[in-house]
Symmetry: C4
Subunit: 224 residues, 4 copies
């Protein structure tokens, strides 16, 4: 057993994985503001001109606000996922790096979205980028919650199953956003509004199919 332990790398605490992730999300979200700049304002000599220049940044504001709030939302998803995880292996660390790689690209695809909003491709890249973040996030969650892996503590089997369905839902809705974005632009993100009802419906069907799965009081303590 000692020999076995020697060969494989030990699991590490999630404390620094969380700190590193928080840092990258925070920086990516803040760099978005660099897209808003007075550099292109030219000669502005009156309040009316300044107002016009600001209105001219309209698409940039829209993209900025959408990307910022979605990054915050995806950060919340990461926070909720790791609320019940203490130690992780190399695979989780690698999946997290890929997830963060997609996060870091958001400022770039956001600036494409605001600069080339008139083109179908220009409208598709930012949603596609967010889709990849969501996809890696779901993969990470499916890996973490795989049966017998024991990385998630203090969640009932029933709750784990519900969160897995929720992840499937959000990937499907995300794919829908990517498909619609070339045609209707940032309005496609409104599709995430239907995510809630679909999620609830799926979870209800799930609990009908597995009526026996009432949470075990001993393991369902949500307060970690």
């Amino acid at each position: 057993m000692a020999g076995d332990r020697r060969r494989k790398r030990e699991n590490v605490s999630t404390r620094r994985l969380e700190a590193y992730t928080d840092g990258i999300f925070a920086i990516a979200a803040t760099l978005l503001v660099l897209d808003l700049s007075v550099d292109g304002f030219g000669a502005v000599k009156s309040d009316g001109r300044l107002w016009d220049a600001l209105v001219g940044l309209g698409d940039h504001f829209t993209s900025f606000i959408i990307s910022f709030l979605l990054l915050c939302l995806l950060w919340v998803v990461h926070t909720r996922q790791f609320e019940h995880v203490r130690r992780v292996d190399s695979t989780v660390l690698t999946l997290n790096s890929l997830r963060l790689l997609a996060v870091v690209l958001i400022p770039f695809t956001t600036s494409i979205n605001s600069a080339y909003n008139a083109l179908p491709l220009g409208r598709a890249l930012m949603p596609a980028n967010f889709f990849v973040v969501i996809l890696f996030g779901s993969m990470q969650w499916f890996y973490l919650t795989a049966q017998g892996r024991g990385m998630v503590e203090g969640m009932s089997q029933e709750r784990v199953r519900a969160t897995r369905w929720a992840n499937v839902t959000v990937v499907v809705v995300g794919a829908g956003v990517v498909a619609l974005a070339p045609f209707i632009g940032s309005w496609a993100f409104a599709l995430f509004v239907v995510n809630g009802p679909i999620e609830t419906a799926l979870m209800r069907r799930d609990s009908k199919r597995h009526p026996e799965a009432s949470p075990n009081p001993a393991t369902s303590a949500d307060s970690g």
Copy 2:
């Protein structure tokens, strides 16, 4: 009850909310320095010319210092608010994201303030931006301290009421700064100096009206 718990999302620890907030405040505050740049200095061949170029950045320095110190102050406000909070729900997370959205815009409105300080609108946007940060901060605090929500620990009812009044005061003073800024520019921020006396006066009136509200020794332990 289990079914009920299953449907609604559980509260999360504030640890990562604080780390994410600290990160965004720190980055927004540090990005302000990008507005100070030698790029526009042109050919500088003597100390006198260099000094002139630096003096020419005067408005930028003023805006930079005001914005940096106000961001630090607003960060302190956030820190003081969450000193007594352990776990939060989705609404608090959303209000925090909106608060941070306004924080991230500060570098942009600060550069408008320094570039277009000659125009009334140019002088109004940065104060307005700070006002929005303050407004969302107050909303978050009112939500957190709402009766029966139980998210704030170790504060007496009396102290909670006093902090709520303090929040009302700072919103009112912030509105005053926005109203004055188009006319007197950054001097309007001096209005925050009166915040202290007004706050004290309001708190005194409050404790006169509710003389019975002496802190319960069991719950007023300030050392969380």
Copy 3:
């Protein structure tokens, strides 16, 4: 003894060293995206043109992805190293600063790599930069694990020796990458793939030579 203690500075907790390191890695990794910019896209009036412009950024994408994932990997190495360290002295702090100095240069050498990928020197600088990060990391680990220093807790002697060999391996492989990069460019990084087998081979030889070195149950508890 008191006089002796007075003269030398006391060891400090690794908590903030880790936070500072996480911050610098996160920022350096995120700044990489600034190299991807629409500024040079010129007039883009169709999806085809936008696609061409993106394809034109090909070298930048390659460099970005390699640098980001390697930075994440080197961050993982740092995390694994300090998993078992509680308090450190001034030498460790200085070595950490030098390690971070090399980390911070990565965005610069990465932009050289993408801009001058046609030149041997242009291809060599980014690998050389990563080599320096690896080198300082190894020096830090050798210092931390030196016999009798007692800074690393909860690792068996055998495991410490294995990690030291692993560090030697990665330095050698890193040197190989630097030597190959001028000729084959970023493909040289594929050499890191052989790192695993070499590491395993070296560790096996090591455990054959020191068969007595079975971990002491009392000190080999990996869960710190």
Copy 4:
């Protein structure tokens, strides 16, 4: 007493002050790399030209390395100071904000240092900036360690006095660096090398004058 406590604001934990400080130091140190850029390289068609372009960045590299390592050093000073502090009042938070304001300016004064190294004023501003960081750091430490304030735990009186002397020394040496910099440029920073011996000499004189001041075993436990 309750009424008295009500009026004045309670002390806050240093946990977030440290996180915010770590963030700002890390970002300021990393932004320094933006000063190293291939933008001014022009047409580079051979390794020789690339080498020349890099050599042309010589002053930028020197300034970058000095500023980065000094920022790391000043971060270590902050870390050592707060190793023994648990909770702080508003004055400490304000002094910390001013200290960080000076830290955030470092990337700007560093770029002045590399761009205008030929001018006395161009050589003086970066050292002056570091001097201000050191000055506010010392003020903060003197405030924290003032007799009867009780903010610093687990340090003997003797050790506190020694650290205060060390702070005086570094302020004096810093002033010397500022005075020399216009004449000898970045070489002035070499003056910090004498800081060690001066500090030791001062501390020795201090312990001769107060020979009775042996640390109280009960309060001198350095392991917080």
